[in-house]
Symmetry: C2
Subunit: 324 residues, 2 copies
Amino acid sequence: MTESATLFNRLALIGTGLIGSSIARAARAQGVAREIVATARSAATRRRVAELGLADQVVENNAAAVEGADLVIVCVPVGACGAVAAEIGPHLARGAIVSDVGSVKSAVVRDMAPHVPAGVHFVPAHPVAGTENSGPDAGFAALFVGRWCILTPPEGADPAAVERLAAFWRALGANVETMPAAHHDLVLAITSHLPHLIAYTIVGTADEFAEVTRSEVLKFSAGGFRDFTRIAASDPTMWRDVFLANKDAVLEMLGTFNEDLAQLARAIRRGDGDALFAHFARTRAIRRGIVEIGQDSPAPDFGRPHPDLPLAPLPRPYAASDDD
Amino acid sequence: MTESATLFNRLALIGTGLIGSSIARAARAQGVAREIVATARSAATRRRVAELGLADQVVENNAAAVEGADLVIVCVPVGACGAVAAEIGPHLARGAIVSDVGSVKSAVVRDMAPHVPAGVHFVPAHPVAGTENSGPDAGFAALFVGRWCILTPPEGADPAAVERLAAFWRALGANVETMPAAHHDLVLAITSHLPHLIAYTIVGTADEFAEVTRSEVLKFSAGGFRDFTRIAASDPTMWRDVFLANKDAVLEMLGTFNEDLAQLARAIRRGDGDALFAHFARTRAIRRGIVEIGQDSPAPDFGRPHPDLPLAPLPRPYAASDDD
């Protein structure tokens, strides 16, 4: 182990679901913390984390986990961050950095900051990465590679502490950007929270029709619907908290979405093909932009695997130029 | 080549985009047609189809393409199906089957049926498969494997002709189901058309905010938004036609969606976490159903590739139970 790789002496993870367990795996793989201490609310999760060997120590409670840690990352649903901060506050080591991974930042700052004692650096963070799965088994070390981690240090935060946390996330493969918490919450409302709200809605809607059975919805879902079900399979507790904590920004974005939807519906009703075509051509370009900057796979259909064709005799030698 | 594999003597494909070119590749790979004749509206596409060696003959016009064919599949946007049927009608061979691949069926039947002469079997079809890409280069032979192809034979259709077309699609790897055109249009309105409308809307919405730049939307799209951009990158002409042709069913489903969205928005506004949690837990179960019946990959995040972590020295030997 080279000394330069080790950024922290003792990393404490409060919560070891998809994100916490991925941080544990990645931090260990990269050697950025000399020691990893983890905890989780449920005994079953703590047992599983120990079985998986994700941490050097798995402890029973949050106060014990943070003792002597120079980096504490709270990886729990945003609605629980305040209570966790209250618990760990008195036990935080002087000079330590305390951070989180919440998808909402203003509410987390409001809830956590009052419990962070003087001499401890509070640097909120949000790694924009995840999958639809939950729990310590769902995590993997490469989750953050090529994704963005947004830091929202409060005014007056120690630049050295912010840089140390940024270096930690870069070591895990993430790109780091810094912005005010309020701006983060607007950006994520449109890039993440509203898409989840829409997906949760339409998947529920599909389940409600008398003329179309649930089994038909599932069978013919490859026409588009199944893409939404992945997002609508995300952790219910996490997302309940996100919507409650970022209510104003989400409802604001939803207002604009509703106006746009009404406009497209009007074009359909009136048979205005030109308006539809113009809109659809514009959105196609946005996809291209995301693929170009490496934020999605260029493979068609997200690179979903396609099984091979059943074997059958070929009618003639295959043309050399036909590589299918 | 075994005789049993060859279902048709001459397959004519009118249109060779994603779907038409995938049929050509799969039909050849499976040996289900002795000869494949293809055409396309644009000279550039016809040239490309010839270069790719996708057909035995590439001809200039639709009337020439169908001469002597015992299976004709019209693979053009649904809005163009009527005009194509009028062109090819007088040239169709007696006893031939004429079909299509449109995502809407009632409108296609209305537009095509009057042009199909007596003695020719009209069996509309819709393979529920595709990607966000278009054109002859986007096609591949395995596109239909494990997907559903829905046939909507009109009343009085010849059962033998329907079965021959079903056998063709099964040879391409698809599962075949038969239902009335009107029912198809309701089912697809919820499993495909409404999801596309919603995705097209939200991707447009994301592009409109003054406070959040387009570059921020693209950078932080991994929080959910990017999933929608894939669907909103689908072919604009095809989708304009779908919405115009299935207007009533789409607007009906949209009405229910809007009611459900208003209900979730109300729960957010009132801070009703229990209502949100109950909804989100229900939609998670629907995802499971789709994965269980093999209509989506069980891999997290659609199986999107994750690059490796940058190399770094490991702090200690990896625990054997930690396979990350």
